[in-house]
Amino acid sequence: MKLKKADIEKEIKNIYNAPVPDYWNKIENADVTQIPIVENPKRRVMPFYRIATVAACFVLVLTFSIIGATNFFSENSNQSNTNVQKNCMDLKNIMDYEKIIQGNNHGILSVDELRSQTLENEYGFVFKIKVTDKYKNVLQYYMLPDLNDNFGLMEYDDVVIDKNGYPTAKAIDSSSYLLTKVIVEEIYYLGDALNINRGDNVEIVEKCYIAAQASPYVFQQNESKHVLFCMEDMIKLEPDKEYIIFGYKNNEKESSGYGHLRTAGFREGIYQVDKEKEISFYEVSNKDSMINECIDKLKALRKQNGMVEE
């Protein structure tokens, strides 16, 4: 039995089918004086002696911290460098360069425009996205779209819209996009991370690429550091901004239940995507970020492998 999200929601909605009583009369006739009024907390003025005590403590802490920092830098400069180094290493571990480099596809995408809002909220938004650079493109059936080709990036489910009308996506939402090339008569998206469902109501009838979003729960199962890095990060998909796409090779075998994305077996003329393949988006607006460091590594890797630039 195939149950869609809407079916389950309907099922839950029908749980309490009993008639709802009309209790207006009781409200009208109630004694309102018994109901407590929640007051907004009023600001109290702090007495002078408290302000003085707090200020004195603050000055004391500041003085000690300055003295402590001076001593630390003068006597243990080597040690402080080690600390900084260690922090950097930790970040690198989180980023998991090895896994990224093992991936088969790397490239830069830019979001051109918010193309359309689909008819039902369930299907969310479709963006027009362009590939502006490719770093690595090993296997044909993993291939990224051609340079300057447009394709759609579809976000579904409950989309929050920012002031400018663009959806804001948390990194956890957008960090596992499975990118595949399809010739579209109807648009497909990956539902439940298990089956490919058809979005009947989306009206794009042309050649395009779809990045389908997996359920965030996949990442909870995944338990990889790579995912944890994404958790706190906010990615806002905007026009004229660049996003980097990393092929992310997952070494875990597919498990039953809500496991990893499965093989997307499309029809003739449609490229396949390996089930162990996940592709993640990171914003590259911050030049100082480790993502740029990673791009440099990927560029070096491309040179090293003698890859021809397209």
């Binding site: 389950i8 099922e11 207006w24 409200i27 109630a30 009024i37 909220n121 409950d158 359920s215 965030p216």
Partner: protein, 175 residues
């Protein structure tokens, strides 16, 4: 998906303001709009029609008496359902003062007999926080963002917990 709402947030805010000035027709409009979801959401927590009716009634009285303290930090709908939730939870606490709140969620009142046992077990497969998220989403018709604010949880956590809960329920429905 949930397009059944006839009253917009702005309208609802206006009605709350009018209610603050003692306008009973404004309160009646809010009542007409929210009577069913308020009752059902309360019922989903306390599982007793009698208590749910009391809570629903109390909710509208609280709206009336506390309307002047309403600040649009929360969407009006979310504000109202946070009142329902607080009342329902204090009802659970009163009912089972010695029992953990997690257990209280799974102990139904005997007067809930009219509910089909299958239906009761369906939501009972969920933990209390998952249950609240699902009920706030489905009965109260709130967005994940509002639910996150009410439950004081990160947005993405609400979102994946909701998706996870539906998958959990899906498994049981398929069985």
């Amino acid at each position: 998906m949930y397009s059944s709402n006839t009253m917009t947030d702005k309208n609802m805010e206006e009605f709350i303001k009018k209610t603050a000035n003692g306008d009973m027709t404004a309160l009646k409009s809010l009542y007409d709009e929210l009577r069913v979801p308020v009752y059902k959401f309360a019922l989903s927590i306390v599982k007793s029609p009698v208590s749910a009716e009391d809570i629903a009634q109390e909710t509208f009285l609280r709206i009336m008496t506390n309307a002047q303290t309403y600040r649009p930090k929360l969407r009006p709908r979310a504000w109202i359902f946070s009142i329902v939730r607080n009342l329902a939870i204090s009802e659970l606490r009163n009912r089972l003062k010695t029992v953990d709140i997690e257990e209280a969620y799974h102990v139904s009142d005997t007067s809930a007999d009219f509910l089909a046992s299958d239906d009761l077990t369906l939501l009972d497969f969920l933990k209390s926080d998952e249950r609240e998220i699902v009920c706030l989403r489905i009965f109260a018709d709130l967005k994940h963002y509002d639910i996150a604010k009410i439950l004081n949880m990160p947005y993405e956590q609400v979102r994946w917990k909701y998706a996870y809960s539906l998958k959990k329920l899906k498994k049981h429905l398929i069985k």
